[in-house]
């Protein structure tokens, strides 16, 4: 039974630099890096490799104590050139100097009919060994799933409503078979349904309309309609004790390819977006790519913020920084380190705002695309304004009360107010519109960590 969800609340951030549907010709970066911090919930990963070792794509790099059999593997083949560590010798990056031709570790290959008859255990074993298990995310908490658990359902969001987001149908070009195989694998893991949620406002991509073994749900609305957490809330809400899994469509295809071709292939299209990009589009590379070559001769201005991911949930890296493991998008926007004379009160139509406070006339602009920099437009303050977060979080959740419960360390309230249903991306829009400029995503993660450990 497919469902239709119509969301009224939310806010689309309309920026300059949407990715054009074209593949840009670029050189492959020389180095790739895996950052343990990309995998939420890892505490002290244990390295298997050392500098100078040679690895293939799919060779193990490290594991997490307690879940030793889930391996974190190399996205490309080559030589481990550097293991960058931070405070207390915490591993920050495992850097690989990539081979010209990528060599793959060989995993078991299955035909389409083999996949349907394959046991759940065999599938899990190959996924854990290859590194592809990292695509399975568990809710609550948004951490890597525990293969021993049986999720009550699996959710895939088939569209991304974040600013300048890539088009999943474009990312998955020619991957129909891999995607179908991935869905077949997912169906082994849950006694419930595999939900594939698609954008009601657009055309249904063929890859999604033809796939078997999913419940296709249509979601209408502005951002965060594309967030899988919001979709789960309306389809089958998570309560205490429930476990569901989520994957991105790109991850599903990667899982499918692992079984169809026996390789852990992290190659993907990455959208190159933002107002500082001369020619927007998509580049083909592997997970953990260094940004420099991908953006070569394609960036305007000197003082820019290079973001792996989108402007709401992404991470600011340098031009020599690396693409996050789960990211399919690079955003480049200007830095905003300049003072503005009476900038807090002069009327303007060029400042993007959800609010209509005096002088902010952006709501008159209609569908105008904005060029936005990284200026905070104000300083941190206590919560003062009420009622605005609720307008950008299309869930039956009282965000301000949840944040206050987290700050007070009140476990019962956190639980009752819905912390199991949220991860950072769901409150990113609240953080964006907050006139008191609170770091709400960080606060939410602190709360999740408290609940997880408590």
């Amino acid at each position: 039974m497919s469902r239709t969800i119509k969301l009224k609340k939310g806010f689309d951030i309309n920026l300059v630099g949407k990715p054009k549907k074209q593949v840009l010709k670029t050189n492959q970066p020389e180095t790739f890096a895996i950052k343990p911090s990309d995998f939420v919930g890892l505490s002290r990963p244990k390295l298997i490799v050392k500098e100078g070792d040679n690895v293939k794509a799919g060779s193990p790099l490290f594991f997490e104590r307690g879940i030793e059999d889930i391996l974190f593997t190399a996205p490309v083949s080559g030589e481990i050139v550097e293991i960058r560590r931070g405070e207390k010798r915490r591993v920050l990056e495992v850097k690989i100097l990539a081979d010209k031709e990528i060599e793959f570790e060989k995993f078991d290959k299955y035909s389409i009919s083999d996949i349907s008859s394959m046991s759940k255990e065999a599938a899990i074993s190959q996924l854990k060994k290859s590194g592809a298990w990292t695509n399975f995310i568990r809710r609550p908490f948004g951490i890597i799933a525990n293969p021993e658990e049986s999720p009550k359902a699996v959710f895939i969001s088939g569209f991304d409503t974040h600013p300048l987001a890539p088009d999943f149908a474009y990312l998955l070009r020619d991957q129909d078979q891999n995607f179908q195989a991935g869905i077949d694998i997912l169906n082994k893991f849950t006694p419930g349904t595999v939900h594939l949620n698609i954008n009601g406002n657009g055309e249904i991509p063929q890859i999604f309309s033809q796939v078997n073994g999913v419940q296709l749900n249509k979601v209408y609305g502005s951002h965060p309609a594309g967030n899988v957490g919001v979709q789960i809330h309306h389809l089958a809400p998570i309560a205490k004790g429930d476990v569901v899994w989520t994957l991105s469509p790109v991850g599903v295809a990667q899982v499918g390819k692992l079984f169809l071709e026996g390789v852990y292939d992290t190659s993907k299209l990455v959208a190159v977006t933002g107002s500082q990009i001369k020619k927007t589009g998509y580049v083909r590379t592997y997970a953990g790519a260094c940004l420099n070559k991908l953006l070569e001769a394609n960036v305007e201005g000197d003082d820019n913020r290079f973001i792996s991911g989108n402007v709401l949930t992404g991470e600011g890296v340098r031009l020599e920084g690396y693409l996050g493991y789960y990211h399919n998008q690079i955003s480049v926007i200007p830095e905003g380190k300049q003072e503005e004379f009476l900038g807090w009160i002069l009327p303007t139509t060029s400042k993007l705002s959800f609010h209509k406070a005096f002088g902010l006339f952006s709501f008159l602009n209609g569908k105008k695309e904005y060029k936005v920099d990284t200026n905070t437009h104000g300083e941190y303050r206590n919560f003062v304004v009420t009622g605005s977060f609720e307008n950008v979080l299309p869930m039956d959740i009282l965000p301000t009360y949840l944040f206050k419960a987290i700050m007070a360390g009140d476990y019962d309230d956190m639980e009752a107010l819905g912390i199991y249903e949220l991860i950072e991306e769901d409150v990113a829009l609240c953080e964006f519109i907050d006139v008191s400029k609170n770091p709400l995503q960080e606060i939410l993660r602190e709360g999740i960590d408290l609940i997880k450990e408590g």
Partner: protein
């Protein structure tokens, strides 16, 4: 503006760590951010872009919404002065008297309030917050023009320290700061803020038959002595003063900024259009007032009770309180359903106090403060209902 920036940059080392005035950095920073929106950028993690609105702009919106009340109020101070003394005067002369009386009150309120704010910022090494920008303007507007300046200062000290700073500053207070100032004077120096204080006479003698009474005083008299309120009001020494439309426009004695319902409506339009003030609160205060007024109409044992409910909206400070004070997001209910209940009860209680308790002719001040105290309780039940609903949904 490069010049100003350079000046600020020049003195900056004095206020930075190791500088001579390092303790006073919040004050330096507070002043700089008035001239220049800061050059802060987002962190490496978290949203990389931020909305163009900040708390300064939100607070400033409220002040802008108060401007109609302020200007009309200054004119009205002069106008009431001239009709009470029986002298002819032009619009500008009336405005001038108002400016002479009102500007010092505003100056004292801001000077005293900001000094305290700065002192606390230095003690606790936290940035200067914008909360007092609004309170500093609200306090003068709810004082009679005749208020002694030292009382304004004292009330501001009390309100800022006891009403706000002890709770941790802007955003943490329970009671509306400006109303805390007024209620302090109301109980500490009642003779200066009730009775015949609403018309500024200066050294002039009033005309024969002059009475400084407000319509609320007639109401109180009706409630306690059984006199006919409407009759008294219509035979007021200045004919037509207490006609409905005259009161709506606000050409009546009262606190400086609150007499004109019309100007409050203009302010309400600004607050609602900008989304800064909650329309739910404003509307529900009006509904609560009309509801309670209608109930009293049914009971109707004295002439105040028999007054048509819509009169309540234009007399006293109800409109001003509903638009500018009840909507204070910090001390109001924080939940959307809570705002309806909170506002409605403010309306009900205002009329209750006015009609039933003649010792306090003005009900809106006490009603808002009372509901400020109860707002967390209302929110508690709204939040509990949300938890229950969430729990129920999960077990299905």
């Amino acid at each position: 503006m490069k010049f100003l920036q350079r000046k600020f940059d020049q003195i900056k080392p004095l206020f930075e760590k190791g500088g001579k005035y390092e303790k006073f950095y919040p004050i330096y920073e507070g002043h700089r951010t008035i001239f220049f929106a800061p050059d802060m950028t987002t962190d490496r993690k978290g949203t990389q872009i931020k909305d163009g609105a900040d708390l300064k702009r939100v607070m400033m919106t409220v002040i802008i919404a108060m401007i109609p009340c302020l200007i009309f109020g200054m004119w009205n101070v002069g106008h009431q002065h001239y009709i009470a003394t029986g002298l002819e005067a032009t619009l500008l002369e009336k405005l001038w008297i108002g400016i002479l009386k009102v500007v010092p009150i505003i100056a004292v309120s801001y000077a005293v309030g900001l000094s305290i704010e700065f002192t606390f910022c230095v003690i606790y090494q936290r940035p200067v917050e914008e909360g007092f920008l609004v309170s500093g303007m609200l306090i003068p507007l709810i004082m009679p023009a005749t208020i002694p300046l030292w009382q304004v200062a004292l009330a501001t000290v009390f309100a800022v320290i006891i009403g706000k700073e002890v709770f941790g500053g802007t955003g943490m207070n329970i009671l509306n700061v400006a109303l805390t100032a007024r209620v302090f004077l109301y109980f500490a120096y009642p003779t200066d803020i009730s009775g015949d204080v609403w018309t500024y006479l200066g050294d002039k003698t009033p005309v024969d038959g002059f009475s400084g009474a407000t319509i609320l005083a007639y109401g109180a008299e009706a409630a306690s002595n059984g006199t006919n309120m409407m009759q008294l009001a219509s035979s007021h020494w200045y004919a037509g003063m207490f006609d409905f439309w005259n009161m709506f426009i606000g050409i009546i004695p009262g606190s400086i900024g609150e007499t004109s319902t019309l100007m409050c409506l203009l302010g309400a339009i600004v607050l609602i259009a900008t989304g800064v003030g909650s329309w739910k609160i404003i509307l529900s205060v009006i509904l609560g007032t009309l509801f309670m007024g209608a109930i009293f109409n049914l009971a109707g044992t004295n002439s105040f009770m028999q007054m048509p409910p819509h009169y309540h909206l234009v007399i006293g400070g109800l409109a001003f309180g509903a638009v500018y004070m009840a909507t204070d997001p910090v001390s109001a209910s924080h939940t959307e359903l809570g705002k309806w209940i909170y506002g409605f009860l403010i309306g009900v209680i205002t009329v209750l106090i006015r009609v039933i308790n003649p010792a306090y002719p003005e009900g809106i001040m006490l009603a808002i403060l009372f509901m400020n105290v109860f707002a967390p309780l209302i929110d508690f039940y709204v939040v509990e209902a949300n938890k229950k609903r969430r729990l129920k949904r999960a077990t299905v």
